[in-house]
Protein backbone atom coordinates (compact mmCIF):
# COMPACT_ATOMS: atom_id res chain seq x y z
CA UNK A 1 0.00 0.00 0.00
CA UNK A 2 1.58 3.20 -1.10
CA UNK A 3 -0.66 6.17 -0.70
CA UNK A 4 0.88 9.22 -2.34
CA UNK A 5 1.61 12.09 -0.04
CA UNK A 6 -0.92 14.90 -0.22
CA UNK A 7 1.08 17.86 -1.55
CA UNK A 8 -0.07 20.41 1.04
CA UNK A 9 3.33 22.07 1.21
CA UNK A 10 3.54 22.35 -2.55
CA UNK A 11 0.18 24.09 -2.81
CA UNK A 12 0.97 26.44 0.02
CA UNK A 13 4.18 27.40 -1.73
CA UNK A 14 2.32 28.02 -4.99
CA UNK A 15 -0.22 30.09 -3.12
CA UNK A 16 2.44 32.18 -1.39
CA UNK A 17 4.29 32.73 -4.67
CA UNK A 18 1.03 33.84 -6.27
CA UNK A 19 0.41 36.30 -3.46
CA UNK A 20 3.96 37.61 -3.66
CA UNK A 21 3.67 38.16 -7.40
CA UNK A 22 0.34 39.93 -7.28
CA UNK A 23 -0.05 41.61 -3.93
CA UNK A 24 3.39 42.33 -2.57
CA UNK A 25 3.32 45.83 -4.04
CA UNK A 26 0.45 46.64 -1.68
CA UNK A 27 1.98 45.03 1.38
CA UNK A 28 5.31 46.66 0.57
CA UNK A 29 3.64 50.05 0.42
CA UNK A 30 1.90 49.36 3.70
CA UNK A 31 5.26 48.34 5.08
CA UNK A 32 6.85 51.65 4.10
CA UNK A 33 4.10 53.62 5.82
CA UNK A 34 4.29 51.47 8.95
CA UNK A 35 8.03 51.79 9.10
CA UNK A 36 7.86 55.55 8.84
CA UNK A 37 5.30 55.65 11.65
CA UNK A 38 7.35 53.37 13.81
CA UNK A 39 10.52 55.30 13.15
CA UNK A 40 8.73 58.51 14.04
CA UNK A 41 7.49 57.08 17.33
CA UNK A 42 10.93 55.71 18.12
CA UNK A 43 12.73 58.96 17.29
CA UNK A 44 10.18 60.83 19.31
CA UNK A 45 10.69 58.72 22.38
CA UNK A 46 14.44 58.81 21.99
CA UNK A 47 14.47 62.56 21.60
CA UNK A 48 13.36 62.86 25.20
CA UNK A 49 16.42 62.74 27.48
CA UNK A 50 16.37 59.34 29.24
CA UNK A 51 16.25 60.75 32.75
CA UNK A 52 13.35 63.04 31.89
CA UNK A 53 11.61 60.11 30.20
CA UNK A 54 12.07 57.94 33.29
CA UNK A 55 10.63 60.56 35.62
CA UNK A 56 7.65 61.19 33.30
CA UNK A 57 7.05 57.45 32.93
CA UNK A 58 7.19 56.90 36.68
CA UNK A 59 4.81 59.78 37.32
CA UNK A 60 2.47 58.52 34.62
CA UNK A 61 2.50 55.01 36.04
CA UNK A 62 1.80 56.35 39.49
CA UNK A 63 -1.05 58.46 38.17
CA UNK A 64 -2.54 55.64 36.12
CA UNK A 65 -2.28 52.97 38.78
CA UNK A 66 -2.64 55.17 41.86
CA UNK A 67 0.05 53.06 43.43
CA UNK A 68 3.19 54.73 44.69
CA UNK A 69 5.11 51.46 44.92
CA UNK A 70 4.58 50.88 41.22
CA UNK A 71 5.80 54.38 40.42
CA UNK A 72 8.96 53.75 42.41
CA UNK A 73 9.45 50.38 40.71
CA UNK A 74 9.18 52.08 37.32
CA UNK A 75 11.73 54.68 38.35
CA UNK A 76 14.24 52.11 39.63
CA UNK A 77 13.59 49.60 36.87
CA UNK A 78 14.03 52.03 33.99
CA UNK A 79 17.07 53.56 35.68
CA UNK A 80 18.59 50.08 35.84
CA UNK A 81 17.92 49.59 32.14
CA UNK A 82 19.61 52.92 31.41
CA UNK A 83 22.54 51.91 33.58
CA UNK A 84 22.93 48.61 31.75
CA UNK A 85 23.26 50.53 28.49
CA UNK A 86 20.07 49.10 27.06
CA UNK A 87 18.14 52.34 26.71
CA UNK A 88 17.89 52.54 22.93
CA UNK A 89 17.07 48.86 22.61
CA UNK A 90 14.36 49.21 25.25
CA UNK A 91 12.77 52.22 23.58
CA UNK A 92 12.76 50.41 20.27
CA UNK A 93 11.14 47.38 21.89
CA UNK A 94 8.51 49.50 23.63
CA UNK A 95 7.64 51.23 20.35
CA UNK A 96 7.33 47.86 18.63
CA UNK A 97 5.15 46.44 21.40
CA UNK A 98 2.97 49.56 21.56
CA UNK A 99 2.22 49.50 17.84
CA UNK A 100 1.74 45.74 17.70
CA UNK A 101 -0.61 45.80 20.64
CA UNK A 102 -2.53 48.73 19.25
CA UNK A 103 -3.10 46.95 15.94
CA UNK A 104 -3.95 43.69 17.69
CA UNK A 105 -6.55 45.43 19.84
CA UNK A 106 -7.99 47.46 17.00
CA UNK A 107 -8.60 44.27 15.04
CA UNK A 108 -9.16 41.91 17.95
CA UNK A 109 -11.78 43.66 20.03
CA UNK A 110 -14.26 44.34 17.19
CA UNK A 111 -13.74 40.81 15.95
CA UNK A 112 -14.43 39.50 19.44
CA UNK A 113 -17.66 41.50 19.61
CA UNK A 114 -18.68 40.16 16.24
CA UNK A 115 -17.89 36.61 17.28
CA UNK A 116 -19.99 37.03 20.40
CA UNK A 117 -22.99 38.35 18.49
CA UNK A 118 -22.88 36.10 15.47
CA UNK A 119 -22.70 32.31 15.60
CA UNK A 120 -21.31 31.86 12.08
CA UNK A 121 -18.49 34.31 12.68
CA UNK A 122 -17.75 32.51 15.89
CA UNK A 123 -17.51 29.17 14.14
CA UNK A 124 -15.13 30.58 11.54
CA UNK A 125 -12.97 32.60 13.90
CA UNK A 126 -12.30 30.07 16.66
CA UNK A 127 -10.36 27.47 14.64
CA UNK A 128 -8.34 30.26 13.04
CA UNK A 129 -7.42 31.43 16.51
CA UNK A 130 -6.17 27.94 17.32
CA UNK A 131 -3.87 28.09 14.32
CA UNK A 132 -2.67 31.59 15.20
CA UNK A 133 -1.80 30.61 18.73
CA UNK A 134 -0.05 27.34 18.02
CA UNK A 135 1.63 27.68 14.62
CA UNK A 136 5.34 28.17 15.36
CA UNK A 137 6.17 31.75 14.46
CA UNK A 138 9.12 30.81 12.28
CA UNK A 139 6.85 29.03 9.83
CA UNK A 140 5.30 32.28 8.69
CA UNK A 141 8.14 34.63 9.59
CA UNK A 142 10.36 33.72 6.66
CA UNK A 143 7.56 33.82 4.02
CA UNK A 144 6.56 37.22 5.45
CA UNK A 145 9.83 38.76 4.26
CA UNK A 146 8.84 39.16 0.57
CA UNK A 147 5.66 40.90 1.74
CA UNK A 148 6.87 43.15 4.50
CA UNK A 149 10.61 43.20 4.12
CA UNK A 150 13.20 42.31 6.65
CA UNK A 151 12.92 44.01 9.99
CA UNK A 152 10.34 45.65 12.14
CA UNK A 153 7.22 45.50 10.02
CA UNK A 154 7.52 41.76 9.45
CA UNK A 155 8.09 41.52 13.18
CA UNK A 156 4.93 43.51 13.86
CA UNK A 157 3.03 41.27 11.47
CA UNK A 158 4.07 38.13 13.31
CA UNK A 159 3.60 39.72 16.71
CA UNK A 160 0.06 40.79 15.86
CA UNK A 161 -0.83 37.29 14.69
CA UNK A 162 0.65 35.76 17.78
CA UNK A 163 -0.68 38.25 20.31
CA UNK A 164 -4.19 38.95 19.00
CA UNK A 165 -6.09 35.75 19.98
CA UNK A 166 -6.56 36.59 23.68
CA UNK A 167 -8.09 39.95 22.76
CA UNK A 168 -10.63 38.21 20.53
CA UNK A 169 -11.33 35.31 22.86
CA UNK A 170 -11.72 37.33 26.02
CA UNK A 171 -13.82 40.03 24.38
CA UNK A 172 -16.13 37.33 23.08
CA UNK A 173 -16.19 35.61 26.46
CA UNK A 174 -16.85 38.83 28.34
CA UNK A 175 -19.89 39.67 26.25
CA UNK A 176 -21.25 36.15 26.44
CA UNK A 177 -20.92 36.13 30.20
CA UNK A 178 -23.32 39.01 30.64
CA UNK A 179 -26.17 37.49 32.72
CA UNK A 180 -29.21 36.57 30.61
CA UNK A 181 -31.54 38.26 33.11
CA UNK A 182 -29.92 41.57 32.34
CA UNK A 183 -30.09 40.96 28.60
CA UNK A 184 -33.77 40.04 28.87
CA UNK A 185 -34.34 43.09 30.99
CA UNK A 186 -32.73 45.31 28.39
CA UNK A 187 -34.82 43.71 25.69
CA UNK A 188 -37.97 44.15 27.76
CA UNK A 189 -37.28 47.86 27.90
CA UNK A 190 -37.13 47.82 24.12
CA UNK A 191 -33.46 48.54 23.58
CA UNK A 192 -32.02 47.92 20.16
CA UNK A 193 -29.11 45.53 19.56
CA UNK A 194 -26.70 48.48 19.46
CA UNK A 195 -28.01 49.99 22.65
CA UNK A 196 -27.76 46.66 24.39
CA UNK A 197 -24.15 46.30 23.25
CA UNK A 198 -22.95 49.80 24.07
CA UNK A 199 -24.86 50.42 27.26
CA UNK A 200 -25.06 46.99 28.82
CA UNK A 201 -22.75 44.35 27.44
CA UNK A 202 -19.56 46.31 26.78
CA UNK A 203 -19.49 48.06 30.17
CA UNK A 204 -20.09 44.75 31.94
CA UNK A 205 -17.46 43.02 29.83
CA UNK A 206 -14.81 45.73 30.22
CA UNK A 207 -12.87 43.84 32.84
CA UNK A 208 -12.63 40.69 30.82
CA UNK A 209 -11.71 42.68 27.73
CA UNK A 210 -8.97 44.45 29.63
CA UNK A 211 -7.67 41.10 30.81
CA UNK A 212 -7.47 40.12 27.16
CA UNK A 213 -5.63 43.33 26.31
CA UNK A 214 -3.22 42.61 29.12
CA UNK A 215 -2.54 39.16 27.71
CA UNK A 216 -1.99 40.68 24.28
CA UNK A 217 0.66 43.03 25.64
CA UNK A 218 2.42 40.19 27.42
CA UNK A 219 2.40 37.97 24.35
CA UNK A 220 3.74 40.83 22.22
CA UNK A 221 6.66 41.15 24.59
CA UNK A 222 7.30 37.44 24.51
CA UNK A 223 7.59 37.61 20.73
CA UNK A 224 10.43 40.12 20.73
CA UNK A 225 13.19 37.52 20.81
CA UNK A 226 11.73 35.49 17.96
CA UNK A 227 11.13 38.66 15.98
CA UNK A 228 14.82 39.46 16.42
CA UNK A 229 15.63 36.59 14.08
CA UNK A 230 14.22 38.60 11.20
CA UNK A 231 15.92 41.81 12.17
CA UNK A 232 13.61 43.50 14.64
CA UNK A 233 16.56 44.47 16.85
CA UNK A 234 15.65 46.00 20.22
CA UNK A 235 15.94 44.07 23.47
CA UNK A 236 15.10 40.82 21.71
CA UNK A 237 17.99 41.46 19.35
CA UNK A 238 20.33 41.95 22.28
CA UNK A 239 19.17 38.68 23.83
CA UNK A 240 19.51 36.81 20.58
CA UNK A 241 22.92 38.26 19.81
CA UNK A 242 24.21 37.39 23.26
CA UNK A 243 22.88 33.84 23.09
CA UNK A 244 24.45 33.28 19.69
CA UNK A 245 27.79 34.39 21.04
CA UNK A 246 27.39 32.53 24.33
CA UNK A 247 27.56 35.72 26.36
CA UNK A 248 25.21 34.55 29.05
CA UNK A 249 25.64 37.63 31.21
CA UNK A 250 24.63 39.97 28.40
CA UNK A 251 21.73 37.68 27.53
CA UNK A 252 20.40 37.86 31.06
CA UNK A 253 20.87 41.63 31.24
CA UNK A 254 18.76 42.15 28.14
CA UNK A 255 16.30 39.55 29.44
CA UNK A 256 15.95 41.48 32.67
CA UNK A 257 15.19 44.56 30.55
CA UNK A 258 12.31 42.70 28.93
CA UNK A 259 11.04 41.54 32.32
CA UNK A 260 11.09 45.07 33.72
CA UNK A 261 9.13 46.46 30.77
CA UNK A 262 6.69 43.55 31.01
CA UNK A 263 6.12 44.02 34.73
CA UNK A 264 5.49 47.74 34.40
CA UNK A 265 3.01 47.29 31.54
CA UNK A 266 1.31 44.34 33.21
CA UNK A 267 0.82 45.97 36.60
CA UNK A 268 -0.41 49.24 35.14
CA UNK A 269 -2.96 47.46 32.96
CA UNK A 270 -4.07 45.30 35.88
CA UNK A 271 -4.59 48.35 38.06
CA UNK A 272 -6.63 50.02 35.35
CA UNK A 273 -8.72 46.87 35.14
CA UNK A 274 -9.27 46.79 38.90
CA UNK A 275 -10.28 50.44 39.06
CA UNK A 276 -12.97 49.74 36.55
CA UNK A 277 -14.75 47.56 39.07
Amino acid sequence: MDIPKIPIGHFIELFINFLVDHFSFATKAFSVVMEAGLEFLEHAMMAVPPLVFIVIAAALVWFLSKKRSLGIFTLVGLALILNLGLWNATISTIALVLISTLIAILIGVPLGILAAMNKTTNRIVMPILDVMQTMPAFVYLIPAIPFFGLGKVAAIFSTVIFAMPPSIRLTCLGIRQVPTELVECAEAFGSTRWQRLIKLELPLATNTILAGVNQTVMLSLSMVVIAAMIGAKGLGGEVWKAIQRLQMGNGFEAGIGIVIVAMILDRVLQQIGKRNN
Partner: protein
Protein backbone atom coordinates in the same frame (compact mmCIF):
# COMPACT_ATOMS: atom_id res chain seq x y z
CA UNK B 1 -11.23 53.96 29.59
CA UNK B 2 -10.42 57.57 30.40
CA UNK B 3 -7.00 56.54 31.60
CA UNK B 4 -6.25 54.73 28.39
CA UNK B 5 -7.20 57.86 26.48
CA UNK B 6 -4.90 59.90 28.69
CA UNK B 7 -2.11 57.42 28.08
CA UNK B 8 -2.54 57.62 24.34
CA UNK B 9 -2.72 61.39 24.48
CA UNK B 10 0.60 61.56 26.33
CA UNK B 11 2.23 59.27 23.80
CA UNK B 12 0.89 61.39 20.96
CA UNK B 13 2.12 64.55 22.67
CA UNK B 14 5.65 63.20 23.08
CA UNK B 15 5.59 62.12 19.46
CA UNK B 16 4.47 65.53 18.28
CA UNK B 17 7.09 67.38 20.31
CA UNK B 18 10.04 65.47 18.98
CA UNK B 19 11.81 66.32 15.79
CA UNK B 20 12.19 63.24 13.66
CA UNK B 21 15.57 63.08 12.04
CA UNK B 22 15.15 61.10 8.90
CA UNK B 23 18.53 60.45 7.47
CA UNK B 24 18.68 61.58 3.91
CA UNK B 25 21.01 60.31 1.24
CA UNK B 26 21.86 57.02 -0.27
CA UNK B 27 20.81 54.01 1.74
CA UNK B 28 22.27 50.53 1.56
CA UNK B 29 20.93 47.58 3.50
CA UNK B 30 23.00 44.51 4.28
CA UNK B 31 21.91 41.42 6.16
CA UNK B 32 24.16 39.10 8.11
CA UNK B 33 23.99 36.21 10.49
CA UNK B 34 25.18 36.80 14.01
CA UNK B 35 28.35 34.76 13.50
CA UNK B 36 31.68 36.33 14.25
CA UNK B 37 33.04 35.97 10.74
CA UNK B 38 29.88 37.46 9.27
CA UNK B 39 29.78 40.33 11.72
CA UNK B 40 33.44 41.18 11.03
CA UNK B 41 33.08 41.18 7.24
CA UNK B 42 29.77 43.01 7.26
CA UNK B 43 31.13 45.77 9.44
CA UNK B 44 34.13 46.21 7.18
CA UNK B 45 31.90 46.61 4.13
CA UNK B 46 29.68 48.98 6.07
CA UNK B 47 32.67 51.06 7.10
CA UNK B 48 34.07 51.23 3.56
CA UNK B 49 30.73 52.28 2.06
CA UNK B 50 30.11 54.84 4.77
CA UNK B 51 33.53 56.38 5.28
CA UNK B 52 34.75 56.28 1.72
CA UNK B 53 31.62 56.67 -0.41
CA UNK B 54 29.25 58.44 1.94
CA UNK B 55 26.49 55.87 1.88
CA UNK B 56 24.19 55.34 4.83
CA UNK B 57 24.51 51.63 5.56
CA UNK B 58 22.13 49.66 7.70
CA UNK B 59 23.23 46.19 8.77
CA UNK B 60 20.66 43.72 10.06
CA UNK B 61 21.53 40.63 12.07
CA UNK B 62 19.03 37.90 11.17
CA UNK B 63 18.69 34.14 10.87
CA UNK B 64 20.40 32.49 7.89
CA UNK B 65 17.13 31.61 6.17
CA UNK B 66 15.88 35.16 6.63
CA UNK B 67 19.12 36.56 5.24
CA UNK B 68 18.80 34.62 1.99
CA UNK B 69 15.10 35.29 1.68
CA UNK B 70 15.68 39.01 2.15
CA UNK B 71 18.38 39.20 -0.53
CA UNK B 72 16.23 37.15 -2.90
CA UNK B 73 13.21 39.38 -2.41
CA UNK B 74 15.36 42.45 -2.94
CA UNK B 75 14.59 43.73 0.50
CA UNK B 76 18.25 44.03 1.37
CA UNK B 77 20.93 44.81 -1.17
CA UNK B 78 23.26 41.98 -0.32
CA UNK B 79 25.35 40.06 2.17
CA UNK B 80 28.92 38.90 2.49
CA UNK B 81 28.23 35.66 4.32
CA UNK B 82 27.21 32.97 1.84
CA UNK B 83 28.92 29.73 2.79
CA UNK B 84 29.39 27.65 -0.32
CA UNK B 85 29.47 25.13 -1.85
CA UNK B 86 28.07 23.09 1.07
CA UNK B 87 26.65 24.99 4.03
CA UNK B 88 24.26 27.26 2.16
CA UNK B 89 23.78 25.02 -0.87
CA UNK B 90 20.05 24.62 -0.23
CA UNK B 91 19.48 28.36 -0.09
CA UNK B 92 21.45 29.06 -3.26
CA UNK B 93 19.56 26.33 -5.07
CA UNK B 94 16.24 27.82 -3.99
CA UNK B 95 17.05 31.42 -4.87
CA UNK B 96 19.57 31.13 -7.69
CA UNK B 97 17.32 32.99 -10.12
CA UNK B 98 16.85 35.92 -7.80
CA UNK B 99 20.34 36.57 -6.51
CA UNK B 100 23.78 37.11 -7.97
CA UNK B 101 26.79 35.35 -6.50
CA UNK B 102 29.80 37.66 -6.73
CA UNK B 103 32.32 35.04 -5.75
CA UNK B 104 34.46 34.41 -2.71
CA UNK B 105 35.73 36.97 -0.21
CA UNK B 106 37.76 34.29 1.51
CA UNK B 107 38.86 30.80 0.63
CA UNK B 108 39.95 28.12 3.00
CA UNK B 109 36.93 28.09 5.23
CA UNK B 110 36.22 24.62 6.49
CA UNK B 111 33.53 22.37 7.87
CA UNK B 112 34.15 19.37 10.06
CA UNK B 113 33.79 17.69 13.39
CA UNK B 114 35.93 19.12 16.13
CA UNK B 115 37.00 17.78 19.52
CA UNK B 116 38.96 19.38 22.35
CA UNK B 117 42.67 18.68 21.86
CA UNK B 118 42.84 16.54 25.02
CA UNK B 119 40.67 13.96 23.28
CA UNK B 120 43.02 11.21 22.06
CA UNK B 121 40.94 10.23 19.04
CA UNK B 122 42.17 11.78 15.78
CA UNK B 123 40.02 10.41 13.02
CA UNK B 124 36.33 9.92 12.39
CA UNK B 125 37.14 6.32 11.52
CA UNK B 126 38.12 5.62 15.12
CA UNK B 127 34.96 7.03 16.65
CA UNK B 128 32.90 3.84 16.85
CA UNK B 129 35.43 2.21 19.18
CA UNK B 130 35.16 5.14 21.56
CA UNK B 131 31.44 5.73 21.41
CA UNK B 132 30.97 5.27 25.17
CA UNK B 133 33.41 8.01 26.02
CA UNK B 134 31.40 10.45 23.90
CA UNK B 135 28.07 9.18 25.25
CA UNK B 136 27.23 8.28 21.67
CA UNK B 137 26.48 11.89 20.81
CA UNK B 138 27.64 14.37 18.23
CA UNK B 139 26.50 17.85 19.14
CA UNK B 140 25.07 19.58 16.09
CA UNK B 141 23.58 22.95 15.24
CA UNK B 142 20.34 24.13 13.60
CA UNK B 143 18.47 21.26 11.93
CA UNK B 144 18.36 23.08 8.60
CA UNK B 145 22.05 23.84 8.26
CA UNK B 146 24.09 22.34 5.43
CA UNK B 147 26.66 21.27 7.98
CA UNK B 148 24.01 19.06 9.55
CA UNK B 149 23.17 17.50 6.21
CA UNK B 150 26.77 16.53 5.50
CA UNK B 151 27.11 15.33 9.09
CA UNK B 152 24.19 12.94 8.52
CA UNK B 153 26.01 11.65 5.46
CA UNK B 154 29.17 11.18 7.50
CA UNK B 155 27.25 9.08 10.04
CA UNK B 156 26.18 6.80 7.21
CA UNK B 157 29.47 6.70 5.32
CA UNK B 158 31.52 5.82 8.38
CA UNK B 159 28.85 3.47 9.78
CA UNK B 160 28.70 5.35 13.05
CA UNK B 161 25.72 3.34 14.28
CA UNK B 162 26.56 3.99 17.92
CA UNK B 163 26.21 7.73 17.48
CA UNK B 164 23.33 10.09 17.15
CA UNK B 165 23.52 13.62 15.81
CA UNK B 166 21.93 16.00 18.31
CA UNK B 167 20.07 18.95 16.82
CA UNK B 168 20.15 22.32 18.48
CA UNK B 169 21.64 25.63 17.46
CA UNK B 170 25.00 27.29 17.17
CA UNK B 171 24.48 28.62 20.67
CA UNK B 172 23.64 25.29 22.28
CA UNK B 173 26.58 23.67 20.51
CA UNK B 174 29.08 26.16 21.89
CA UNK B 175 27.42 25.96 25.31
CA UNK B 176 27.78 22.17 25.36
CA UNK B 177 31.39 22.49 24.24
CA UNK B 178 32.16 25.07 26.90
CA UNK B 179 30.66 22.86 29.58
CA UNK B 180 32.48 19.73 28.43
CA UNK B 181 35.82 21.54 28.35
CA UNK B 182 35.28 22.86 31.84
CA UNK B 183 34.72 19.31 33.07
CA UNK B 184 37.41 17.80 30.83
CA UNK B 185 34.82 15.55 29.24
CA UNK B 186 34.99 14.12 25.75
CA UNK B 187 32.75 15.77 23.21
CA UNK B 188 32.35 16.00 19.45
CA UNK B 189 30.80 19.08 17.89
CA UNK B 190 29.97 19.99 14.32
CA UNK B 191 32.22 22.94 13.62
CA UNK B 192 33.34 25.38 11.01
CA UNK B 193 36.26 27.74 10.49
CA UNK B 194 36.47 30.67 10.95
CA UNK B 195 34.73 30.53 14.31
CA UNK B 196 35.61 32.15 17.60
CA UNK B 197 35.56 28.84 19.44
CA UNK B 198 38.91 27.96 17.87
CA UNK B 199 40.40 31.09 19.35
CA UNK B 200 38.89 30.54 22.76
CA UNK B 201 39.59 26.84 23.27
CA UNK B 202 42.23 24.41 22.13
CA UNK B 203 40.35 22.33 19.56
CA UNK B 204 41.23 20.10 16.67
CA UNK B 205 39.32 18.79 13.66
CA UNK B 206 38.88 15.04 13.36
CA UNK B 207 40.43 13.61 10.20
CA UNK B 208 37.90 12.87 7.52
CA UNK B 209 39.64 10.46 5.13
CA UNK B 210 36.53 9.93 3.02
CA UNK B 211 36.05 13.69 2.58
CA UNK B 212 32.38 13.44 3.45
CA UNK B 213 32.22 16.68 5.37
CA UNK B 214 33.28 18.60 2.32
CA UNK B 215 36.64 19.97 1.38
CA UNK B 216 37.36 23.61 1.69
CA UNK B 217 34.47 26.04 1.81
CA UNK B 218 34.52 29.58 0.59
CA UNK B 219 32.56 32.56 1.84
CA UNK B 220 30.86 34.44 -0.97
CA UNK B 221 29.28 37.80 -1.49
CA UNK B 222 25.71 37.52 -2.74
CA UNK B 223 23.66 40.49 -3.90
CA UNK B 224 20.16 40.99 -5.17
CA UNK B 225 19.46 40.98 -8.89
CA UNK B 226 19.51 44.50 -10.27
CA UNK B 227 21.96 45.99 -7.81
CA UNK B 228 24.45 46.49 -10.62
CA UNK B 229 22.02 48.84 -12.41
CA UNK B 230 20.64 50.61 -9.33
CA UNK B 231 23.84 51.19 -7.44
CA UNK B 232 26.88 50.55 -9.61
CA UNK B 233 29.25 51.99 -7.01
CA UNK B 234 28.04 49.72 -4.26
CA UNK B 235 28.04 46.78 -6.61
CA UNK B 236 31.65 47.46 -7.48
CA UNK B 237 32.78 47.54 -3.88
CA UNK B 238 30.87 44.36 -3.04
CA UNK B 239 32.29 42.70 -6.13
CA UNK B 240 35.87 43.67 -5.28
CA UNK B 241 35.67 43.05 -1.55
CA UNK B 242 38.04 40.19 -0.77
CA UNK B 243 40.49 39.20 1.94
CA UNK B 244 44.04 38.32 1.04
CA UNK B 245 43.60 35.14 3.05
CA UNK B 246 41.37 33.67 5.68
CA UNK B 247 43.95 34.70 8.30
CA UNK B 248 43.14 38.32 7.61
CA UNK B 249 39.52 37.64 8.52
CA UNK B 250 40.52 35.63 11.58
CA UNK B 251 42.60 38.57 12.74
CA UNK B 252 39.64 40.95 12.64
CA UNK B 253 37.54 38.34 14.42
CA UNK B 254 40.18 38.14 17.14
CA UNK B 255 40.02 41.94 17.56
CA UNK B 256 36.27 41.64 17.94
CA UNK B 257 36.71 39.06 20.69
CA UNK B 258 38.68 41.44 22.87
CA UNK B 259 36.52 42.57 25.77
CA UNK B 260 34.83 45.90 25.25
CA UNK B 261 35.83 46.14 21.62
CA UNK B 262 33.53 47.68 19.06
CA UNK B 263 33.10 45.92 15.74
CA UNK B 264 32.75 49.11 13.75
CA UNK B 265 35.84 50.61 15.36
CA UNK B 266 37.73 47.45 14.46
CA UNK B 267 36.47 47.71 10.89
CA UNK B 268 37.86 51.26 10.74
CA UNK B 269 41.14 49.93 12.11
CA UNK B 270 41.19 47.32 9.35
CA UNK B 271 40.65 50.02 6.73
CA UNK B 272 43.46 52.09 8.17
CA UNK B 273 45.91 49.21 8.36
CA UNK B 274 45.12 47.89 4.88
CA UNK B 275 44.76 51.10 2.96
CA UNK B 276 46.10 49.86 -0.38
CA UNK B 277 43.86 46.82 -0.30
CA UNK B 278 40.77 48.88 0.49
CA UNK B 279 41.68 51.37 -2.24
CA UNK B 280 41.75 48.53 -4.74
CA UNK B 281 38.13 47.67 -3.84
CA UNK B 282 37.05 51.15 -4.84
CA UNK B 283 38.70 51.13 -8.26
Amino acid sequence: MKRIVTLLAVVALIAALAVPSFAGGKKVKLAYVEWDCAAASTNIVKAVLQERLGYDVEILPVAAAAMWQAVASGDVDGMVTAWLPVTHADYLERFKDKVEDLGPIANGAKLGWAVPSYVTVDSIEDLNKNADKFNGKIIGIDPGAGLMRVSENALKEYNLDKFELVEGSGATMTAALSNAIKNKEWIIVTAWTPHWMFGKWDLKYLKDPKQVLGGAEHIDTVVRKGLKEDMPEVYKVLNNFKYTSIDQLQKVMAWNQEPGSDRYENALRFIKENKAQVDSWLK
